[in-house]
């Protein structure tokens, strides 16, 4: 029995190892091609770069040339800056304001609060295409079409899921804690920031991760709102792609690699929180 089990485990381990390599393969292929000359990519994407001339043709290894041209052509550094700025501040705004709103909705118990809650929940099921055209016009009219203004838009779009998740958690906090704080002379603002907000921490981490993943990778919303002037990373990648035929494959490969690196670093650092957060978000959403 034990021998049979060990044998089965070894077979499964090998199977999983092959699958893991298959999962990583596409990224490795892109990484490999990012070091090849741009004309040697489409023709033979699965060949390693060659350092010297071979029977097939000239040396294809170009070092970091693609990275330099990719960074320049796509404006990658400013795109990285915009993506980082918009993601960090939108996520910060979402956590702060939606936690406050969720607490208000649950604790004030008014009819208006109830209606507001259902509006937020409703917004979660409406696909982006339904509102994208009027939204981009409204954003334009209100001069929100810049990297600071778009934070307001993200707060509005992130509100649905975030209010929903915070509300679920607030309901589970015993009311006595807050009442005690109020009796001790705290006003609602002090009660929220000194007592409630610290308790919300686990949900805040989940909300932060879900929103960060969405905003960092979002393409259509920033493209429609600020895309003409300010390119985030997904817009820069799409821009580099340009028209078929004229595109610089080398630069594209390099920029693809550069846009994956920050995500992988972030993932390896906060892996535990990310997986937990995603599961919690899925189960509640």
């Amino acid at each position: 029995m034990a021998v049979k089990r060990r044998f089965a485990n070894a077979a499964i381990f090998i199977l999983l190892l092959i699958l893991a390599l298959l999962v990583l393969a596409p990224i490795l292929v892109v990484l490999m091609n990012s070091f090849k000359g741009q004309f040697f990519i489409s023709d033979a994407p699965f060949k390693l770069p060659t350092l010297t001339e071979t029977a097939d043709g000239p040396a294809t290894f170009v070092g970091f040339k693609n990275y330099l041209s990719g960074i320049e052509k796509a404006g990658f550094l400013s795109a990285f800056g915009y993506s980082l700025f918009i993601t960090v501040f939108s996520v910060g705004a979402i956590i702060l304001f939606t936690a406050m709103t969720a607490w208000y909705i649950i604790r004030s118990k008014g009819k208006f609060s109830g209606a507001l809650y259902y509006l937020f929940v409703f917004s979660m099921i409406v696909p982006f295409q339904m509102v994208m055209f009027p939204m981009s016009k409204v954003a334009n009219m209100l001069h929100l079409d810049n990297p600071v203004g778009i934070i307001v838009i993200y707060l509005g779009f992130g509100a649905g899921l975030s209010v929903f998740m915070f509300s679920g958690f607030v309901k589970s906090i015993p009311l006595e804690i807050e009442e005690a704080a109020m009796i001790d002379g705290c006003n609602p603002i002090q009660t929220f920031f000194l007592v409630v907000f610290p308790i919300l921490r686990p949900t805040a981490i989940t909300v932060a991760i879900l929103n960060a993943m969405w905003i960092w990778n979002d393409y259509l919303l920033p493209y429609l709102v600020i895309g003409n002037k300010y390119r985030t990373i997904p817009i820069a990648v799409q821009y580099l792609q340009g028209g078929y035929g004229s595109r610089d494959m080398g630069a594209l490969m390099a920029v693809l690699v550069l846009s994956i690196i920050p995500i992988i670093i972030f993932y390896l650092i906060c892996q535990k929180y990310i997986i937990k957060g995603v599961v919690a978000g899925a189960v509640k959403g």
């Binding site: 999962v23 990224i27 489409s42 339904m130 055209f133 009311l175 009442e179 609602p188 990648v237 997986i275």
Partner: protein, 281 residues
């Protein structure tokens, strides 16, 4: 407490509410209204009744083609993603070494954005098709299966993590009892594991369903609808109707409204199913 708190509406709820009104509420109401009008910017509207809706379905075959393509794609990806992720979850909940490392690797593609994913897979798929002297835009079949493979690559790890959580929630006593009663591995899977992970199955089915149905970025980057709009999904068709040529904004908005209603029906069904399950438990 609730009375005191209500005086603080402006502080606690107003900032979120204003942002929500600007980016969602007002555009949503405008969107419904605009779907009955002809316009190029949102200020020069002219009431046309249901004309946009009629045009959406009869003006060209694009919308119905996109709907059919989206439905086919959604069905195939929901089935493949759930089968694969469940199988992986079963393998990774066995007591053996290295499961955490595998989990980390399988989950990772989920974090990469749709546009980047689309271009990564374009290279890979074109690399394979090169042997036959064609590329992904040659036939809608390639675009379809390319999109299915991409979607599996992205979502299998995500769903796997949810299934793992579900499987680990099953008490060990249940499976042990089944084993003592002489159940084979297969019987234990059918009669113990699957009934007990039904909540996870519901969640994963609907997550893959809505993710596939609303897909835009991956579709846009991988094929962009080529050849001849044959691999265009609903979201991309709506986008192209809005921004492809001037004068069709109203039709685009009407298509978007239909899209919203379909997605709403899916979400409502899920809500009802989950509610009923909760009552049963």
């Amino acid at each position: 407490m609730s009375k005191t708190l209500r005086k603080y509406f402006a502080f606690f709820a107003l900032p979120t509410f204003i942002a929500f009104a600007i980016s969602f509420l007002i555009p949503f109401v405008m969107g419904v209204y605009l779907s009955f009008t002809e316009f190029t910017t949102v200020t020069n509207t002219q009431w046309v009744g249901l004309a946009n809706y009629v045009k959406a379905f009869t003006g060209s075959r694009d919308f119905l083609n996109a709907l059919w393509f989206t439905v086919k794609f959604t069905v195939v990806s929901v089935i493949t993603i759930n089968l694969l992720s469940f199988a992986l979850a079963m393998l990774l909940t066995r007591a053996m070494k290295g499961t955490n490392l595998f989990r980390t690797v399988f989950f990772m593609p989920n974090l990469i954005g749709g546009i980047v994913l689309g271009y990564i897979w374009q290279i890979i798929i074109n690399g394979f098709l090169l042997r036959f002297g064609v590329d992904i835009t040659f036939s809608a079949k390639y675009g379809f299966w390319g999109l299915v493979v991409l979607m599996n690559w992205q979502l299998v790890g995500y769903m796997m993590v949810i299934y793992i959580a579900g499987i680990q929630n099953i008490s060990g006593e249940l499976t042990e009892a089944a084993a003592i009663d002489g159940a084979s591995g297969w019987q234990s899977l059918i009669h113990v594991t699957i009934p007990n992970v039904m909540p996870s199955i519901t969640i994963c089915t609907f997550l893959t369903l809505t993710n596939s149905f609303k897909l835009f970025d991956q579709n846009f980057a991988l094929t962009g609808g080529a050849p001849a709009k044959e691999t265009q999904m609903l979201a991309l068709d709506i986008y192209n109707t809005f921004y492809g040529r001037v004068g069709f904004e109203g039709v685009g908005q009407a298509k978007a409204t239909v899209f919203f209603i379909v997605v709403g029906v899916i979400a409502f069904t899920q809500l009802m199913l989950t509610r009923r399950k909760e009552v049963e438990n």
